[in-house]
């Protein structure tokens, strides 16, 4: 037996002697040792991990030229090819990878919603469970800083900009008519149901060169990539009913929703300030189709809507109210494909088409407005290494607006069409000097066919990470946007409106606390200007200008209090402009100086319920009082709104949701409307502009019929 051992030992010793020892030291660029890095000979089992001093040492039986791999989380993998005999006493420095989560973020002014845990300020559930949002994507974004609450309008107003200065995109493709139409005094809503989207990014300034034709803000929403399980949802609401279905088959999936909304019964029970002869009613449908290829993802989003509303509009200048009847039809399709050639190079191609029609009957006059839009975009992105990336793209937008007005028996008084093509090329490059410091440069050149103008606009962001949780960034960008379509029917020579953004941003991100501070300055030029006469707008031009500056504050606490999430947004805004028919520089009616939102939601296990509270306050809205000298010379009462919602999980598949906005019934005002002529006492009589209804109640019952009994609808609320 001993001889066998001896023999074995001899053989073993012999084989050990043919091994080569590989050793060395691994550090980061500053010389600090890296502990736990995996060091090995490629293609073999031979290797080890570095010890507490960053040292490694192991033996290999490989011979000749080999590749030594050093990999460590958060650092670029390093490969060294050499004769194994030379791989001794190595001194290797690893560079931090710019791709890791902790790297500096170069999207300063963007608020993200979704599951990107380190960046998202809103979680997917927040969109739908924020009290007062009533499931409207847009309304939930209005609880973030940088927005001015215009609750009688409902659209997104960003940092002193008009609502049409913020564009909405789906998967990077433009949406042409994102809002439902509404009657004056009632907010319009976004047309999209939030649970078809996996994430949203909302930028209140300084966005990159791939976005054009937006002066103030960009909201880009990403449709969900996949369906996890087959299920059918049924919703019964005080305002209508809906049905939805999700199905996955192989590498494809489809999600579709259909709903019928009728505000008739609600308005009958709770009449509001406007006499609605036929409250809003309409059908809408949405569908998302996804298909995974071996190296890419195809997505398509389709929506269609048809709705009608008829009401009587009182006007202080006329004895009898105006009878209005609005019919809206909307269809939209967006498709995109992302292809990943490898982990360095990817290609995006997308196209969206949209059609929106409004037929308005105003007493005996008929107005028809139409919009056809097309957007095509292609973009290639390449990572030269972990530190340098370039994106190149091209896009084309075609827009066609038509407008016709007729009185009585179809006697045409106006008929116009405005077609234009906007072509753009853009380039974006990001350079990470080190993981803590990054520079992003962008350039966008754009041609507008109607204006015959060519522009080249730069964008840049410089960001520095202070430590693991904090960073500061500075952004600058020049932006252009065409004038509103209503001014394009004439023959005047017009051009793009322009804005320059300057932003200074500070962020603190930890699991429990998120803080954002941002100061901004925005300079407007070439805004639309005209003189309003009794009949028409005259001298239409681009002589308008203005600026906006201010400070945004955001704080979010996640589960600092047990089972409770809450956030606070505050915006301070100073904005003045001379545009449209303004006789002098003035703060527009929609730009409120102070905006504060408090949102809190808590889960109460004993009641199987989620309670949510939103409290919003805004300072008064400027308006013009003709009984005093000057323009925009008065301020309305401050705005207040306390909204509450309650979601009760009866069983995992059945949810009851009740919500009330402006629970305390504060009588909010948005300014005054005055008569055109003075009364007997020599003053212009006026009336307060108020929302159509002070309070709004909503109740819904949501049920899931799924193969899987454990799924539920809480995510759909």
């Amino acid at each position: 037996m001993k001889t066998i051992y001896l023999l074995l030992c001899l053989l073993l010793c012999q084989s050990v002697s043919s091994q080569t020892r590989i050793n060395g030291l691994i550090t980061d660029p500053s010389g600090l040792s890296i502990i736990g890095a995996n060091v090995f000979i490629e293609g073999s089992y031979d290797g080890s991990i570095t010890d507490v001093e960053g040292r490694f040492s192991f033996e290999t039986s490989t011979i000749g030229k080999q590749t030594l791999c050093i990999s460590y989380l958060g650092y670029e993998t390093k490969n060294i090819s050499d004769e194994v005999d030379n791989l001794t006493n190595l001194q290797i420095k690893l560079r931090p990878s710019a791709k890791v989560m902790d790297a500096v973020q170069i999207s300063g002014s963007t608020f993200k919603a979704g599951d990107n845990s380190s960046l998202a300020v809103l979680k997917p559930m927040d969109i739908v469970t924020t009290a007062g949002s009533m499931g409207d994507v847009i309304a939930s974004f209005q609880t973030l800083p940088g927005t001015q609450s215009n609750s009688e309008d409902g659209r997104l107003f960003v940092r002193g900009g008009d609502a049409d200065e913020t564009l909405i995109f789906i998967d990077g493709m433009r949406v042409f008519a994102p809002y439902t139409n509404s009657i004056g005094g009632s907010p319009s809503r976004g047309r999209f149901s939030p649970f078809l989207f996996k994430g949203m990014s909302f930028s209140t300034g300084g966005y990159d060169a791939s976005y054009g034709q937006a002066l103030s803000g960009v909201l880009d929403m990403q449709t969900a990539d996949e369906v996890n399980q087959t299920e059918t949802n049924v919703n019964l609401m005080t305002v209508g009913l809906g049905i939805g279905h999700k199905q996955a088959f192989g590498k494809s999936s489809i999600t579709a929703n259909l709903s019928y909304i009728d505000l008739g019964p609600y308005t009958w029970i709770a009449p509001n300030r406007i006499n609605q002869t036929r409250p809003y009613h309409g059908f809408s449908g949405e569908a998302v189709f996804t298909h995974k290829t071996n190296k890419g993802l195809f997505k398509s989003y389709l929506s269609a809507e048809k709705g009608r509303i008829a009401f009587e509009q009182r006007d202080i200048n006329s004895e009898v109210p105006n009878a209005l009847d609005l019919l809206n039809t909307n269809a939209y399709l967006s498709s995109s494909y992302n292809h990943y050639f490898n982990d360095k190079t990817s290609l995006f191609a997308g196209i969206s088409i949209g059609q929106n029609g409004e037929e308005i009957q105003l007493d005996s006059a008929q107005i028809a407005q139409g919009l056809d839009g097309l957007h095509a975009k292609i973009k290639a992105t390449h990572f030269f290494n972990d530190h340098f990336k370039i994106g190149l793209g091209a896009e084309h937008i075609f827009l066609s607006n038509d407008l016709s007005k007729a009185i009585g028996n179809n006697e045409l008084v106006f008929n116009g069409t405005a077609n234009r093509n906007i072509s753009a090329l853009f380039a974006e490059s990001a350079y990470f000097f080190i993981a803590n410091l990054a520079l992003k440069l962008g350039l966008r050149t754009e041609y507008h066919s109607l204006f015959g103008s060519m522009s080249i606009k730069p964008r840049m962001t410089l960001a520095q990470k202070i430590n693991k949780k904090q960073q500061i960034s500075f952004s600058f960008g020049q932006y252009t946007q065409e004038v509103g379509e209503e001014y394009l029917f004439g023959t005047e020579e017009l051009t793009n409106q322009r804005a320059n953004h300057f932003l200074l941003n500070y962020q603190y991100n930890s699991k429990k606390h998120i803080v954002r501070l941002e100061g901004f300055y925005k300079k407007y030029n070439f805004l639309i200007s005209f003189k309003q006469s009794a009949l028409a707008s005259e001298n239409v031009g681009n002589k308008g200008f203005g600026d906006a500056y201010g400070m945004d504050v955001f704080y979010r606490a996640n589960r600092v209090i047990k089972n409770t999430d809450c956030w606070i947004s505050y915006s301070w805004l100073q904005s003045e402009r001379k545009y449209k028919d303004y006789p002098s520089l003035a703060t527009p009616n929609y730009a409120t100086t102070h905006n504060l939102s408090l949102v809190a939601k808590t889960w109460i296990q004993a009641l199987s319920s989620q309670l949510s509270v939103t409290y919003s306050v805004a300072s008064g809205r400027p308006y013009e009082n003709p009984n005093k000298p000057g323009f925009m010379n008065d301020l309305s009462k401050p705005y207040q709104n306390l909204s509450l919602s309650w979601a009760y999980l009866i069983t995992p598949q059945k949810i009851l949701f009740v919500s009330v906005s402006n629970a305390t019934g504060v009588k909010n005002e948005f300014g005054y409307r005055y008569a055109n002529v003075v009364n007997g006492e020599g003053i212009y009589p006026g009336e307060i502009i108020r929302p159509n209804e002070d309070r709004f109640f909503f109740a819904g019952f949501f049920m899931t019929i799924g193969r899987n009994k454990k799924s539920n609808q809480l995510q759909n609320l």
């Binding site: 074995l8 089992y45 031979d46 699991k511 799924s711």
Partner: protein, 208 residues
């Protein structure tokens, strides 16, 4: 005799580069490092085997498994997210090397369960359907797999507890699964065979 086998193993492993024995001793080394609590060493070992054996799914499976198991006790949120990211990457590799594998699908279910455990507010509603789907998929391939059965029932118990439901039917199911652990045999060397201890713990929770 044991010493003799050890000698032979060491001896032969010093010869061959990619032999079965090499694989076996590598896997054994990785598992014993894990057993000793050296998770970094275990993961590094499994990663080395994974890159040397381009068709083996088990090394990636175990690398992911170590990451997921350690994530449950990791307090630092960003480290935990990075661990789960790495686990996801290894699971993808494992899927590529062995399609329609009930063990890998079960592990993927556990990965998303780890996300839910880490941050229920963000992930519970988002991943619950996915977790159920993965367990169902695993069971449609291998209906007797005790780990798939156990993880499925454990996740359902969590949901049931959340809704204050009666736990009795779940406890009854656990008892049945317990017997399946003894019956389940895999012919693949190093195939996962853990989980029984966990199940016994669940049974005890039911009884207390």
């Amino acid at each position: 005799m044991k010493q003799f086998i050890l000698f032979v193993v060491l001896f032969s492993s010093s010869f061959s580069m990619h032999g079965q024995n090499d694989f076996a001793s590598g896997m054994q080394k990785g598992l014993s490092l894990w057993g000793e609590g050296d998770t970094a060493g275990a993961i590094a070992m499994f990663e080395r085997i994974s890159q040397a054996e381009a068709t083996a799914w088990l090394p990636s499976y175990y690398a992911a498994n170590v990451h997921i198991a350690s994530s449950f006790t990791e307090k630092d949120a960003s480290k935990r997210d990075e661990m789960l990211n790495q686990a996801k990457r290894h699971i993808e590799t494992a899927h590529q090397r062995s399609a329609k594998n009930a063990e890998i699908l079960t592990l993927e279910g556990l990965l998303y369960t780890a996300y839910v455990a880490a941050d229920p507010g963000t992930y519970a509603m988002k991943y619950a359907p996915k977790i159920m789907e993965l367990h169902d998929k695993a069971l449609s391939i291998d209906g007797e797999n005790p780990r798939a059965l156990m993880n499925k029932v454990e996740f359902e118990m969590g949901t049931a507890r959340f809704f204050n439901e009666d736990m009795t039917p779940y406890c009854e199911r656990i008892q049945i699964i317990l017997t399946k652990f003894d019956d389940y045999k895999s012919s693949v060397p190093f195939a996962p065979n853990y989980g029984k201890e966990r199940l016994i713990q669940l049974v005890e929770n039911c009884n207390s």
